[in-house]
Symmetry: C2
Subunit: 107 residues, 2 copies
């Protein structure tokens, strides 16, 4: 099985990538960024995550290459920089938000 040999080589990298989605806080950050770029203060308000914790999560996501930011005066505007993130998010939405997606009228 060559695909499996291939995965064996990539298993550490792939699992590091998956770890970025394996925290409720980071998952919510990525959900919000999937809707469009946001500055840090906006992300804090949207999620309720404390500033220091937010900064550390964003730092990890940046180091792992999932997000990037640009400065706008005093604001740092974060956005998803890796389209692979959306592939995983799509699968997660499909699994966890399907009822809603299938039936938009449902409250």
């Amino acid at each position: 099985m060559q695909t499996l040999d291939h995965m064996q080589e990539k298993a550490v990298a792939a699992s590091e990538f998956m770890k970025c989605f394996a925290s409720p806080h980071r998952l919510m950050i990525l959900c919000h960024l999937a809707q469009g770029e946001k500055n840090v203060s906006e992300l804090i308000e949207l999620t309720g995550i404390p500033q220091t914790s937010m900064s550390q999560h964003l730092s990890k996501l940046k180091n792992e290459g999932l997000v990037d930011f640009e400065r706008d005066h005093r604001l740092l505007i974060y956005s998803i920089s890796n389209p692979d993130v959306l592939k995983i998010m799509d699968a997660i939405y499909d699994i966890y938000c399907k009822e809603f997606i299938d039936d938009p009228d449902k409250k």
Copy 2:
């Protein structure tokens, strides 16, 4: 954003699910099971993961509802019991094994 409210409710469950893919060992176990059911000894031989560690990873995957097993005499045969696992695995293959999938002749 109702989808986001929805995700907020599911964020803990979704991240618990994602944690199952966030370890190189579990990722390889799931890769092998994605190819078809395997007993524990086969999984140990295929992956090189020590018996105790294998048993614990399988236990976690079972508890989280990703896999199940049936007994065949002395063997426990594990298989993927949740189709959502394949949705995530497909995305991971797409991200990390695409070169191979796109060009099967490549060594």
